[in-house]
Each structure stands twice: as C-alpha cells, then as structure tokens.
Amino acid sequence: MMVPILKQGHFLIATIMAALSDEDMRQFREALLDRVVSSRATAVIIDVMAMDVLDSFATRTLREIAYMTRLRGARTVLVGVQPEVALTMVQLGLHLEGVATALDLEEGLAYLDRVNRRG
C-alpha cells in the first residue's frame, strides 16, 4: 500500500489512507525522508485522518519521522488524529512528544503559516 506524498509549495503532504503494515510504514518513512531532501521542503504534514488505530510501532515510526525530518531541516505536523485514537493512545502510554499536532489538514497549514510568520 503506497502512501501518496504530494508537494504543495514548500510543504509535503502525505495522506495515510488506510491502516499500514509495519513494512509499509518503514517504506513510507524511507520515501518521505528522501522526498524531504530532494524537494527542499521546509515542512511535512502527515494526515492520519483515515487511521482508526495507531499502535506502538506506528507511533514510534511517526515520532522517528518527525525527528529525522527535523535533522534534515524540515518540520513535521501530524494532523487528523481521531478522538478515539487519541484516547486509546494515551491510555496505552503512547506519546508523540516533540511532534506538532493539528486538528486537520487546514489547521496544519494554518499552524505552519503562523510558525513561518513568527520566523
């Protein structure tokens, strides 16, 4: 299952359409990190709206993606976490510390806008 990564100005937008296997998740990480550098993006938005489960592996991978993109000079915003998913994650003790979050794609873009203006 491929995760489409779209370029929008200086941002990359990756929308995860369905639950991913661990292998898919790893491939997604590689593909996204390659794109960050090749497209000279300043930020990455990952949309997980369609995911109804975020397990420990997925959470860890998303955290890794955020840290690694930061090392490669871009920010990461995670958008579209569903209320039930959020609740389950905190109950399981899964956290996304250091990863910016926003309600949905629109809010994610607004957040990046604010951050950029602040400089």
């Binding site: 995670l78 958008v79 976490v81 209320p83 998913v85 959020a86 609740l87 994650m89 905190v90 109950q91 956290h95 996304l96 510390e97 979050t101 926003a102 309600l103 809010e107 994610g108 957040y111």
Partner: protein, 294 residues
C-alpha cells in the same frame, strides 16, 4: 427413593397436575386474591400505594401468575413485571417489597394447596413437586425484572446527571472552556475526556481551558486521567490550560510525579482565559482606551 420418584414423574401426569393446579387457582381466584391483599396490608408492604391500587395490581399479578403456571412460559410475565416496575418505581417501591409480595403470593397459594390436599399426602407431594419449581421461577422472574428495571432507571439518571454536569463551552472562536464541578470518579473522568475531544473536533478548538476550581479533591487515578486528557487533546492539536488547582490537588499531582512540562497551569480561570486569548492572538482592550486611541 423420594428423589428418584420425582425425576421419573411421567410428563403427562406432571402436565395434568399443573392443569389441576391452575383450575384450582382459577376457581378460588377471589378468595385467594383477597387473602393475598390482606397479607400484603398486614405486612405493611407497598405503603406508597392506596388499597385500591394494591388490589388492582394484585389482580393482574395473580392472573399473570396463574397464566405463567399454566403455559409454563415466562415471556408474558417478564413483560408484565417490567411494565409493573416502570409504574411502581417512581412511586418509591423498594426491592424488598416486590420480593416480599411475590413470596407472600407463593405462600398463600401453597397454603391453599395444603388445605385442598391435606387428606391425600402423596397427591399433595406430587402437586407441590409441580408447583414449587414453577413458583420459584416466577418469583425469580418478577424480582429480577424489578431489579433490572431499577438499575436501568438508575443508570439512565446517572447518565443524565453526568451529561448535565459537564458542559463544554465555547467562549471565543477556537477557545473552549470545560468547568468541572463536583466529585470526579474514573467513569466521569473518562466521559469528560470523550466529551472534550468531541468538542474540540466540532468547534475546531485550538486552546482549551479546564477549570477545576469546583473539584475539591482527586485521587491518583483521576489525576492521571487528567494528564491523559491533556495529552489526548494535544494529539488533536489543542493546547490545554488547567486552572483552579486546589492545594490538595496540586499535592496529588506532585505526589504522582506528573511531568509539569506537559501541562500548562494557571491560578484561576481568568488567568487561564487570558493566556489562551494571547496564544490565539486576541487582545482584550477596554473600550475607553480604544476611543482614546481613535
């Protein structure tokens, strides 16, 4: 010997006995019903109801009882027990009263059977063999029906109280407040969280102020839940500011070792709203000042 005799009782004779039993109960309906009502009044049960009401209900219970004995099915009785419970629970009838009246009816009927078959002990034995299990099943059904109905009413009311007691309010575009008042148990804490997360999504909130001035104390489990609520809200992209922590709750949070870096707190609700407005880019200025500027 007796035991084997019971189990080898031919089915048709059991059926016949029950039929005989039902016929007896139908025949003596008026007498037995009156006797039952007399016993109810004597035992001072169902005091919330008038004598006429007791008599009317007793009549329907009696008929349903006999019918359940006759058909050996409990569905009709179950439905009746439910509707009876629905009617009498708001009147304040207690569980022990319902169980009491059903047991009284069982006793009244058993006594009448004793009276009828006292000259024929072996027949009496067989009649009781047929009567007792059925009567116990019926008593059970009515009591369980009542308790279930009561539990349903209670849980419905609890739900209603909880819903009422935790409003998620929008004070500005993108800013929600959640004033929590009263005792917070784990169940309510969970419900609060769910309601808040739903509120965040529908109002597209970016900042939430949770005010717990009205919460006197919190145990470690609920305090942990509060921290989880803050984290879950953040996953949805909303910052949470907790205000009005009492000294006791502050103590609890320190004791369980909450990572204070994850949680923004302010002394009171006003302070919390001010910080929230600031982070949303609002600035509240007195009108006199704006007029002076203009």
């Amino acid at each position: 010997m007796q035991q084997t005799h019971r189990h080898t009782l031919p089915i048709d004779s059991a059926l016949e006995l029950r039929r005989e039993l039902v016929a007896h109960l139908r025949e003596n309906r008026t007498v037995l019903r009156e006797e039952w009502v007399r016993r109810i009044t004597e035992a001072q049960l169902l005091r919330a109801m008038t004598k006429e009401e007791i008599f009317a209900e007793a009549t329907s219970v009696y008929d349903n009882y006999v019918e359940a004995l006759e058909t050996d099915t409990l569905e009709a009785l179950q439905a009746y027990a439910r509707s009876l419970s629905e009617r009498i629970i708001p009147r304040g009838v207690e569980t022990d009263e319902v169980v009491g009246i059903v047991l009284l009816l069982r006793d009244v009927l058993a006594r009448s059977l004793f009276g009828k078959y006292q000259n024929n002990p072996s027949k009496l034995n067989r009649v009781l063999d047929a009567y007792e299990p059925a009567a116990n099943r019926i008593a059970n059904t009515v009591a369980v029906g009542f308790v279930q109905e009561r539990e349903r009413v209670i849980s419905q009311q609890q739900e209603a109280i909880r819903e009422l007691s935790t409003p998620v309010l929008q004070v500005r575009e993108r800013l929600l407040i959640l004033p929590i008042i009263g005792v917070v148990d784990p169940h309510r804490a969970r419900q609060l969280t769910e309601q808040l997360l739903r509120g965040i999504r529908t109002n597209r909130a970016r900042v939430v102020v949770i005010d717990i001035t009205g919460v006197a104390a919190m145990d470690a489990a609920v305090a942990n839940h509060l921290v989880q609520t803050v984290e879950a809200s953040r996953l949805l992209g909303a910052d949470v500011i907790v205000t009005g922590l009492s000294p006791e709750i502050a103590q609890t949070l320190v004791n369980i070792g909450v990572d204070l870096g994850k949680m923004k707190t302010m002394g009171d609700l006003q302070g919390g709203i001010e910080v929230a407005e600031q982070s949303l880019g609002y600035k509240v200025v007195p009108t006199t000042q704006t007029e002076a500027m203009a």
